[in-house]
């Protein structure tokens, strides 16, 4: 683990109001994630893992506590600045791919680049490189409807990494794929971490997916209950008491 | 009943869409109602109301016509003439601004049979006619002029004559004409005209009422023959022919108006069709479920058509009611007088139009639902469920 963690989550809580009822989704979460790590976030549904992912990816703001990303306190940013930061720093991979159906694979991948000040030529190079990395150079001008599920998810991954972000978050990226395709996607994510030094944050139900991670965080009822480093085989157990 | 309830529930599902669709139809029906009123008015006057048994006698060749007063006795004593009246046109400006938008067209006539001899005065208050008979300088003024000039009954006004230079006349308002027929006109007494203008020699035209259309034709040709070699010669036509000639001059305008109505109806159908199409597309699954449950395709189609027709009818009703309301308010002086509201004085909207509006809406709903209903019919259970699974 490098000296400076990429992500620091400091005493974060997240609550929602549903009518007059207050729902606590996350409480007292403290966490550090090192750069170029592969972290899996597991836990039963409704445990708050997606919420935590959203907070770290800058899609949502914590009710209390602070989050730093590469030294920048993102929990302090307003929505517009957060959006700009997100484009540069985070790539997203979704369970249902969420590609724009009317755009081709190439255009889908190009989409985030349109937000950056790049020349057309530069954009083209990056898109082709990203699609090459995911092994889809031969499917550039197909629309999502003409691609298989696995291919669609590859396009999704290419879109996530085309801006060269430090962090790639993936929410159940294999949830909608069969066993073989899942394996391929996980291989791909793993190679991104190993070869491109991307930090991967993966939310999953699937034990096979979690097994690819170097570090597994288990979350239950809004608190972190387990933090396991897979490569060292060492277990660390944290218990947070409810206040 | 159940079906109606289901339709209502369906309409309430997407309130935004229902509201927008309804608004579109309402707005267009408002316009359609007024345009249809104009076209209907013209049709009615040319084909029915204008009398085949009433003759208009004027100078043969030249407009404005000028008939010597000495002809009058010869005309009115024709065999078969039941009643008669005359007109003398007296035009002028109603105030010193001398703007053409403030021009009035006075018709000097006989007060005693005013209502009986004129088209569209059935609703004129007989008290106004009595007042005219008592008051020599009296005038019965159109609702439109009253409103535009902000006059009240009992008030006096002066006309700066353009037809009779230097013969400006002062009138006292004794009544108001019902809106519809006479827009920029006022009626006043022939004896006051003669006295005020000094013109006892000529009249603009003479109206004769005959027993029936046949007599009218006979008398018309007799008069024409009788005055063939007189100077000036006379022209006789039935009231309906006169109206038709008048209307034919506005043919270009009427055809543009017909175009507008056609466009409106088509447009309404399109808006409704679009909206219902979206609704059926969203409900494909439900329709498939209904089919699985054993509903016949006809029922499902009927639901779609019914939804469109109900929405159309209600919106049409509201639109036409709004048009009728604004027309009624304008005529009774509750709306400010401007070119847009003044059109109601010429063509007031009848209450019955409200029902026509609802009917039109339903019809348009039907037109608009044909394609979506067909799509609903075509829903294949297997397709829909295959996509979900």
């Amino acid at each position: 683990m490098s000296a400076q963690p990429l992500i620091v989550v400091d005493n974060v809580a997240k609550e929602y109001m549903r009518g007059s009822e207050r729902i606590v989704v996350l409480r007292d979460v403290n966490l550090e994630i090192a750069a170029a790590d592969f972290v899996a976030l597991i836990g039963p549904s409704g445990s708050g893992k997606t919420t935590l992912l959203n907070l770290i990816a800058g899609l949502d703001q914590p009710t209390s506590g602070r989050i730093w990303f590469d030294g920048l306190e993102i929990s302090k940013l307003d929505e517009a600045r957060l959006a700009r930061w997100r484009t540069n720093a985070v790539g997203f991979v979704f369970q249902f791919f969420h590609l724009i159906p009317v755009l081709t694979a190439y255009e889908n991948v190009e989409l985030p680049l349109l937000l950056l000040n790049l020349t057309a030529r530069r954009r083209r190079e990056q898109v082709l490189m990203a699609l090459d990395l995911v092994g889809l150079s031969h499917r550039l001008h197909h629309r999502p409807g003409q691609l298989s599920g696995g291919e669609q998810q590859r396009v999704g991954i290419a879109r996530a990494l085309v801006t060269d972000p430090k962090l790639i978050v993936a929410d159940e990226p294999t949830g909608d794929l069969d066993h073989v395709k899942s394996g391929e996607i996980l291989d791909l994510l793993q190679s991104l971490q190993q070869e491109l030094q991307k930090t991967i944050l993966l939310v999953t139900h699937d034990p096979a997916a979690a097994a690819r991670a170097r570090r597994v965080l288990r979350i239950d009822k809004g608190t972190l209950v387990e933090d396991r480093s897979m490569h060292s085989g060492r277990f660390r157990l944290f218990e947070w008491t409810v206040q | 009943m159940k079906a109606l309830l289901l339709i209502l529930k369906n309409l309430r599902r997407n309130k935004l869409r229902t509201t927008l669709t309804a608004l579109a139809v309402i707005v267009m029906v408002v316009l359609c109602t007024e345009a249809a009123t104009v076209l209907f008015w013209v049709h009615q006057h040319v084909h029915t109301q204008a009398c085949q048994s009433k003759l208009l006698v004027s100078e043969r060749w030249v407009a404005p016509s000028c008939i010597p007063t000495r002809y009058l006795a010869l005309l009115t004593h024709q065999e078969g003439v039941e009643d008669w009246t005359l007109w003398n046109l007296y035009t002028g400006y109603l105030d010193t601004s001398r703007q053409s938008s403030r021009k009035g067209f006075g018709l000097a006539t006989r007060p005693d049979n005013l209502i009986a001899m004129h088209l569209g005065l059935e609703k004129l208050d007989p008290a106004a006619v009595e007042a005219l008979q008592r008051e020599k300088t009296g005038a019965i003024v159109s609702a439109d002029l009253m409103q535009q000039m902000n006059w009240k009954v009992g008030q006096q006004f002066t006309v700066l004559s353009s037809s009779h230079p230097h013969k400006d006349l002062r009138f006292k308002i004794v009544g108001v004409l019902p809106p519809g027929e006479y827009v920029r006109n006022f009626f006043f007494r022939q004896d006051y005209y003669e006295e005020g203008t000094g013109n006892k020699e000529t009249i603009t035209c003479v109206w004769l009422r005959l027993r029936d259309a046949e007599t009218a034709q006979r008398v018309a040709s007799r008069i024409q023959k009788q005055f063939q070699h007189s100077q000036p010669e006379l022209k006789v036509e039935t009231e309906s022919a006169g109206v038709a000639r008048f209307v034919s001059r506005e043919q270009a305008l009427l055809s543009v108006l017909k175009w507008v109505v056609a466009v409106l109806v088509l447009d309404m159908a399109i808006v409704l069709s679009n909206s219902i199409s979206v609704a059926t597309r969203e409900r494909r699954v439900e329709m498939a479920v209904l089919k699985v449950l054993g509903f016949e395709p006809v029922v499902i189609m009927a639901l779609v058509v019914g939804e469109a027709m109900l929405l159309g009818a209600v919106s049409g009703f509201v639109g036409a009611a709004l048009a009728w309301l604004s027309s009624t308010l304008a005529v009774h002086g509750f709306l400010p007088s401007n070119p847009a509201t003044r059109i109601f004085f010429s063509f007031p909207i009848q209450a019955a139009m409200v029902l026509w509006g609802a009917l039109l809406g339903a019809l348009v709903g039907f037109m608009g639902s044909i394609v979506p209903a067909w799509n609903a019919w075509q829903v294949k259970v297997s397709d829909v469920f295959a996509k979900i699974a």
Binding site: A83 | L16, L31, V271, V278
Partner: protein, 382 residues
């Protein structure tokens, strides 16, 4: 900015709805173009009728030739006013005219209609310099001969050589003339004295038209005559006179726009509906775009552009459809007279209709686009 291809392809994918909505615009815009072309045609006919060097005189209190009556002494007096141009022989360029609307009944039909007859003297052709013969010849003085305007020929299907019964006499048609689309084209011209004797109008004139050397001179002449103590006449330069006649179409102009706005409002609700539906179907896509970092205003713009696209497509077809009416001729009654005019679609109308369509698209697209902007990414993806 969200790429335009995104909007374009979405319009393409739901092409039926797109076309239907656009067709709504097409009809409305076509109707607007036709209504404006109608009014424009009338106005053009009126404007073409005026020559800026000419001053038209009417009897006091009258603004229309049909009702005006001037007597010989008055006419003789005004003809010699200062500022009236003279011809080579030193005679003033003044045209005494008698304008009558006469009833005519074609031999085969039994319905009357109006013919507008203008009795003139030879001087008229020097005063109304724009008038020229298309075929045949001019009428001879003292003969029952008429020449007819192009518009009359068109509406009544008269031919050279035909005879017309006007008054007690048979008149022979000897020529057809045109006058740059002016109101004269809806008239029959004949010898003044011949006409006057037919209708007991000897010594009476409807109008006198005086020609000045320059437009400036005409303005001054009209001004002088209006303010003169010795003569009592209405005096207007011809362009002003016909402009006043055209003002009668103001009300129609208002009506045309009221109709257009109401229709447009209907189309506007239509486009709103379509766009709301589109946004409902694409809320997940909007969420993804937001997550990728597209700002809310980019989403707003994107959906506005889509609505504008529909309006632009529909509007251009509407203009094209409406332009088909260009050149169609009709007659229209203006006050007591009727003029022939051609529907006239010109640049300003096209621009007007285009702006109208885009404005409707913009207004109709705005609310849905605002709602698209407010899509909450996390909720939409849940």
């Amino acid at each position: 900015m969200v790429p335009l291809a995104y909007n374009y392809r979405n319009l393409q994918v739901r092409w039926k709805t797109t076309l239907m909505t656009a067709f709504g615009f097409t009809l409305v815009v076509a109707a607007l173009v036709i209504m404006l072309a109608f009014l424009n045609g009338i106005e053009a006919a009126c404007i073409a009728s005026g020559e800026p060097e000419n001053v038209i005189l009417l009897s006091k209190g009258n603004q229309d030739e049909v009702l005006s009556q001037m007597e010989r002494p008055l006419v003789a007096q005004v003809e010699n006013s200062k500022g009236v141009a003279v011809d080579a022989a030193g005679r003033p360029l003044a045209s005494r005219e008698l304008f009558l609307a006469v009833h005519h009944r074609p031999p085969e039909g039994d319905e009357f209609h109006f013919l507008q007859v203008r009795g003139v003297l030879p001087a008229a052709f020097r005063v109304h310099s724009q008038l020229h013969l298309l075929s045949g010849r001019t009428f001879r003085p003292g003969q029952s001969e008429v020449m007819i305007g192009k518009g009359v020929q068109r509406t009544h299907h008269f031919q050279i050589g035909d005879t017309l019964e006007i008054g007690r006499k048979q008149w022979q048609i000897v020529g057809v003339f045109e006058s740059r689309g002016a109101a004269f084209e809806s008239e029959l011209w004949c010898d003044l004295n011949e006409l006057a004797s037919q209708f007991r109008r000897d010594g009476l004139y409807s109008t006198v038209v005086l020609r000045a050397e320059t437009p400036q001179g005409a303005e001054e002449l009209a001004e002088r005559l209006r303010n003169s103590r010795s003569v009592s006449v209405e005096a207007l330069t011809e362009p002003k006179y016909y402009q006043k006649q055209a003002e009668q179409t103001r009300l129609l102009q208002t009506a045309a726009w009221v109709i257009a706005w109401f229709m447009g409002l209907g189309a506007l609700f239509g486009v709103m509906n379509t766009q709301f539906a589109a946004i409902g179907q694409r809320s997940k896509e909007i969420a993804v775009l937001r997550i990728l970092g597209f700002p809310a205003r980019a989403i707003l713009l994107s959906f506005l552009i889509e609505a504008l696209g529909i309006a632009a497509v529909g509007g251009s077809f509407g203009v094209a459809l409406g332009a088909a009416a260009n050149g169609v001729t009709r007659s229209f009654s203006l006050g007591a007279r009727s003029i022939d005019f051609a529907f006239r679609v010109d640049g300003p109308i096209v621009v007007c209709a285009g702006i109208f369509a885009l404005l409707m698209g913009l207004l109709g697209g705005l609310l849905p686009a605002l709602s698209a902007m407010r899509v909450k990414p996390l909720e939409a993806l849940r």
